[in-house]
């Protein structure tokens, strides 16, 4: 059948290790994206012309360039053009943070913009200081809007990390290929089961997060 390959030796464990490599990269990238994205999103909501101009270009680059292309540019291009030899891990964290920060900043900007002016005016009429306005009126609403969306960003980041095998990181797909190669003669049909298991592993990693995001979105819907 081919399924027994997964039970042989530590094959299943190796697959899980591969998955955790991918998850590690995505979690680091998410953390960086959240911080940079929030800063950039607040800057963008301030209506500074220069900031808006550059952020528009930045967002458009991220909008139309596949992450795969960015990955190639950073990984292969950096060595050639500026002579720095980045490890594949560093290159992928740079690219995914670059991408994630853009997505996050757009979410933050959207959330800040969705608060109607009347709320600021009413707070001013109630003589709240601008710190109090943000602390008690604006932030609670923005945060409730942003949390489900940023959780959703995590699943998208995890899915995107599957690309890192293309620049040679040994993550779950690569481990899968190695297992299939090693057992080519003994179990020629292993590919079906190995890739099915990887498919389900990714699903198991992303689905609970998606559910959580959806649950919070519904719960906090204004």
């Amino acid at each position: 059948m081919g399924f027994e390959v997964l039970l042989k030796g530590s094959n299943m464990l190796r697959l899980l290790e591969g998955l955790s490599t991918a998850l590690n990269i995505s979690l680091i990238s998410v953390a960086i994206s959240l911080v940079l994205g929030i800063i950039l999103g607040i800057l963008m909501a301030m209506h500074n012309r220069v900031v808006l101009f550059f952020s528009k270009i930045y967002l458009e680059i991220v909008r139309i360039m596949p992450q795969m292309v960015l990955l190639f540019i950073v990984y292969f291009g950096s060595t050639k053009v500026i002579g720095i030899n980045l490890s594949a891990e560093t290159a992928s964290i740079i690219v995914f943070s670059f991408w994630g920060a853009a997505e996050m900043s757009d979410l933050v900007r959207g959330a800040l913009k969705s608060i109607p002016t009347i709320q600021y005016e009413s707070s001013a009429a109630l003589s709240l200081s601008s710190f109090m306005t943000y602390r008690y009126i604006i932030m609670p609403q923005v945060v409730r809007m942003l949390i489900p969306l940023s959780i959703n960003l995590i699943t998208r980041m995890i899915k995107t990390t599957s690309l890192v095998m293309m620049i040679g990181i040994v993550e779950v797909l690569k481990v899968g290929q190695q297992i299939i190669e090693a057992n080519r003669t003994a179990s020629p049909n292993a590919a079906f089961w190995v890739f099915l298991v990887i498919f389900l592993l990714y699903f198991a990693a992303c689905w609970p997060i998606s559910l959580l995001s959806r649950f919070l979105e519904k719960k906090w819907k204004v």
């Binding site: 596949p66 190639f72 292969f76 079906f192 699903f203």
Partner: protein
């Protein structure tokens, strides 16, 4: 950067570009069909089918395209289902896109307010008439921003096709970098061709979105 090298690479890239665009748009067409059908099945709560569609949507929304393609291209032949790389790319993209499009259409259908249904029933529309003349047009115009976003997303996802040895733009770039070390030139053309592929779509998308927003009010 050596522009003679760039010029000599252009024909190879044009071939790859045409292939990528072709498979990309076939996949998008698939995804629209699958998405609309799934959304209808979910909307009308057709028994059995709607459960299957719900599982399909969750499975494909929560896994990366690369993993789906590996399973379809390398996994399925082992149980007797052999498909060519091109078909696999289009089918994979269609299945992934279908699950995203289904969500867009479904929320479009749900977004039509209940007063519209009530009003059309009060005006004596039959259920079918109501669906075709009242619900569908409004649901569609509400779905447009989501469709545009997904089309761009799917065109970008075509960049993983090289993993199943389709000779797409990424494949050519990687090939040329490996063979001749003309990294700068190969990457430059890669970016240029993706810009050619996506910038018009992105631009047209924002124009259509603006138009639809003014209709939706």
């Amino acid at each position: 950067m050596d522009f003679n090298v760039v010029i000599s690479y252009i024909p190879t890239y044009v071939d790859a570009f045409l292939l990528t665009v072709k498979i990309g748009w076939i996949g998008i067409a698939f995804s629209l069909v699958i998405g609309i059908l799934s959304a209808f099945i979910m909307h009308f709560k057709i028994p059995v089918l709607s459960q299957i569609v719900a599982v399909y949507i969750e499975l494909f929304r929560n896994t990366p395209l690369l993993v789906q393609l590996f399973f379809i291209y390398f996994g399925l032949p082992k149980i007797g289902i052999v498909i060519s790389a091109g078909t696999c790319g289009a089918v994979g993209l269609g299945l992934l896109g279908g699950s995203y499009m289904a969500e867009v259409f479904r929320s479009g259908l749900e977004g039509v307010s209940i007063s519209q249904t009530e009003s059309s029933l009060a005006l004596g529309f039959s259920k079918t008439q109501m669906f075709i003349y009242v619900i569908l047009p409004q649901a569609f115009s509400k779905s447009v921003p989501g469709i545009v976003a997904n089309v761009i997303f799917l065109l970008k996802e075509t960049s993983v096709f090289s993993a199943i040895s389709l000779m797409d733009l990424m494949f050519r770039a990687k090939d040329l970098i490996g063979l001749y070390y003309n990294t700068t030139e190969a990457l430059f053309l890669l970016v240029i061709f993706y810009v050619i592929m996506l910038l018009p779509v992105s631009f047209l998308g924002s124009v259509i979105e603006k138009k639809v927003v003014s209709i939706n009010g």
